[in-house]
Every structure is written in C-alpha cells, then in structure tokens.
Symmetry: C2
Subunit: 273 residues, 2 copies
C-alpha cells in the first residue's frame, strides 16, 4: 500500500470536501484487510523492539479528528500488540488551571517521547487552534501566531530526532450522528457519551474550516499530516497501522552492536561452575 | 540608574574585552550603593505582590556566567526579600539520563514560570551551547541550529506573556582565581569547591568566545542580554536588582478590580452578628 497517497501536501485551499471518508483503499471489505493486520502488527512489534534498543529516535503520533472520529479506537487497535514499556498514550483534555497558566505548548512538550520511545497523543496542541478559534475567543492574529509557534516547535523536535506523524481521522457528519446514536443505545458505550458533543456538532462547518487552515499552515515535510478515511473502522485501523510501520521502516533501524570486544566467557560456562 | 547602558545590543563581533568587570556604575563604594538596596528590595516586594495578584505575566530571569562569577550569590542577595510563594529558583546541572534522552529544551520548558510567578534559572539552556561546544562534541551546524531553536523558544515564551531577562555575570580571569582561592581557604566555602572548576578554567578563552556568539545570536529585543560587571559583588547585586525592578515597573502592573458589583456586607458586620 502506498501511504503517500494519504499525505496532505500543498493544499492551497479547501481539500476536505474532496476527500472521501468512505474510501477503503481498494479493499472490498474488512476480511480482506484483516488478513494483513496480523502480519502488520507483528512487524510493528519487531520494529519497536529494535527502535527501543537503538534509542536514536523518538516517534510521536498525533491523533486528531472530530468527536467520534475514532481516536480512542485507533489507539486500541493499532497499538494493542506493542510492548507497553516503550509506549505511552497521552490524552489532552481541557487544560487544568496550572496548564492554562503556562503557554499552550508547555503541557505538550513535557509529554514528548524520550529516545527509543513511541508516544501517541490523543488530541494535542492542535486543539489550541481549534476550540478557542471556533468559539471566538481567539482572533486571527493569535491563530496565525500559534501556527508559527507550532511549526517552530515541531521543527525543533524533528531536528532533535523525533519523528512526527500527524493523523487526521476523517469522518462524515452523517457517520458522526450514527456513532452518537450508538453511544446512546449501547450500555457499554454510555460512558463515552457527552452531551457537549451535541453542542459541538452544531459547529461542524467551523471545525472543518479550522482544520483546512491547520493543514495549510502545518503540513510540513518533517511533520506531515495524513488524512485517514475513517467511516470504516477497519480501514482506519489498517491505514493508520500501515503508516506507522512504513515510517519506522524508513529509518533503517538496527540493533546496536557490542561496543566492547566480545569478552571471553568460556570460563564462566565451564563445567567447574 | 539607566539600565539600558548594560543591555547588549548589535554586538557585531567581540564585545567582552571592551566591558570592564570592575565597573561600579559611578558608585564610589559599597556603602553608597547599599543606601539604595533597602528601598529597591522593598520596591521589588511591592511589585511582586501586584504581579502575583494580577497573574497576567510571568517573569523569567536567566543567570549565566563563568564558574565563580556569583550566580548563587546574586540569587541570594537580589531575591532574599521576595515572597517565596510566587518565586522559584531552578539550578540546571549536568543533564540526567532522562533529560539527555529528550531535546535540550525539554527540561527547561518544564520549569518556565506560570502566570504571576517569577523564576530564576541558575544556568539554563545556554549551557547547551557552551559546554559541548567548548569540549568539541558539538559542531558549528549544531550550535547554529540550537541558536535558532533558542530564539524561537524564547520568542514563543515572550509572545505568551513571559518577560525574559538574561544576565551575564562578567568577571575577570584574575577575579575567578581569587574566588577559587577563597573557596579553598575558607572552611565555610569548601563545599563550593569543585576540582573540575580548575580544569574548566583552562578553557577560559573558549568560553569567552562562545559567549560572544551567544550574545550575537540571541540578544533579541524581547529577550535581552544584560552584562553585569561582577568583580564587585555589591555592584553586581545592586545592578541585577535594579534591572529586575525596572523591568517590572515597565509593565504597568495593577491589582485586579472586583469583577462583581461590590456586595453589600453591612448585614454581616451589624451588631447582631
């Protein structure tokens, strides 16, 4: 699968309406994609093992998308086979009092992965150019300034050996309604329902517009955005996993060699011991 | 006292050799300066109280200088009258394993002050363009890149309402030797002696040269460098305190007003209660 097709480049304007949330990358159904999921997950586990041993890079995966676009589900299905020792998920909620008393990148920078580690951000600093903007508490100048600050921040991280992947989970407005209904009807999903999601849904178009600007301003070569057709959960998971695996494969990972001459341990394993 | 005289601007090359570490700003002796120290400290305490109440800005004071230039002493004498509730000092030592596994700004960003708070950094991210550079583990490209990253980082902080003051405590090589001798002879100062200081002293010229580049690359309007003649402790303290007070005075601080109509509490204080 060629993941470059899903990289967002030179948008030069509106692109979201041209991207089909129902797309399945040529797969006819879930079963077809699932045959590859197992081997892809094994591959991810292998790569992560070397990545952790080598400790040369960090990997940061940023998940963004409208409410109900499947951020939690993506984390669960893409990373459930990973060694949790080298992996963290950070969910960024409404800022706490202490977080609000600092610049908006403060809480984000703290959670960036160390070398050898992989982190997934469930929401991120991109919320800070979405929510306040859509609700009118952030003017154009401030949004513009934050875009620049984000570019500089991500540039610094990548220069210091953090690989950044930004995934936009793209669902349709109709699909969101379906998912909200699911949450209301299925008792095991009630906990995911938040009445404020209905309020936010009224701002659908404003959020889409804000995302268009995010892509225009922050889709850089070093920290690319990918759009993930997310109406079909199985393809969303398949594609996200694929992007993570392909990104790691490009790094030419290798287990570090012994940095001393191989010691002679024959005596330790002689019958006398 | 006009503090602008000590602001480092448009260096365009070497400046340190032109700056006299023995300077005392026109004061004849310690006693003359001390008459103002008391009222300056009171003024700082007043300003800090409003600063803390208003919670609009943060203040970050970065202290740099050669070994024995008096960073600890400056913190002690300038800030000993301040309300510790709104003040923190962070000393940046050799990075820990966890710190080294992140970008060099990671540990620094974490310690930046919240709104209403004042922080002093005893050493800072500037060590990361000094020590590795002087000892040859950082090449020119990396130093240059870090200068840019530092400019961007400080730009972001100032745009998000952190006031930054950078103080370079300027001593002469002869004065450093004197202070090292003091540390060896005075039992109450033995704990401050570190044999590695003697090793580092051999790199005096390299450090001075590295500082020249720091001033050239990071003396910005928003995050200015001040040079502090530091051969005389009393003037070093007087000038540093002055710069902090003058910087706070420029902010037009004011206690926040009640944001509700003044409630009628006459009943609460009537004789019946």
């Amino acid at each position: 699968m060629n993941i470059d097709r899903y990289m967002i480049k030179d948008t030069g304007g509106k692109i979201l309406r041209k991207l089909d949330p129902n797309e399945t990358g040529g797969f006819k159904n879930k079963e077809e994609a699932d045959t590859q999921m197992v081997s892809l997950k094994e591959r991810l586990a292998e790569l992560q093992d070397i990545f952790f041993a080598q400790k040369e890079h960090s990997l940061l995966i940023i998940l963004q998308g409208m409410d109900s676009s499947g951020k939690d589900g993506t984390v669960k299905h893409v990373f459930s086979g990973i060694n949790p020792q080298g992996f963290t998920v950070t969910s960024f909620k409404k800022p706490t009092l202490d977080e609000s008393a600092h610049d908006f990148l403060w809480r984000v920078h703290k959670q960036t992965p160390a070398k050898g580690y992989i982190s997934a951000f469930n929401r991120s600093h991109y919320e800070d150019v979405l929510v306040p903007r859509v609700h009118g508490s952030q003017d154009k100048d401030e949004t513009k300034r934050r875009f620049r600050q984000i570019r500089h921040f991500e540039e610094m991280l990548t220069e210091e050996n953090t690989i950044i992947i930004k995934l936009f989970l793209h669902i349709s407005k109709g699909k969101q309604l379906e998912k909200i209904q699911e949450r209301l009807q299925d008792p095991t999903k009630h906990w995911k329902f938040d009445v404020s999601d209905l309020e936010e849904r009224k701002f659908w178009d404003d959020y889409q517009e804000a995302y268009e600007d995010i892509f225009k301003e922050t889709a850089t070569d070093n920290a690319p955005w990918y759009w993930i057709p997310a109406n079909h959960r199985w393809f969303r998971n398949y594609l996200s996993l694929n992007i993570v695996v392909k990104t790691l494969e490009k790094l030419n990972l290798a287990y570090p060699k012994l940095n001393t001459p191989t010691p002679d341990i024959s005596e330790l394993i002689s019958p006398r011991h």
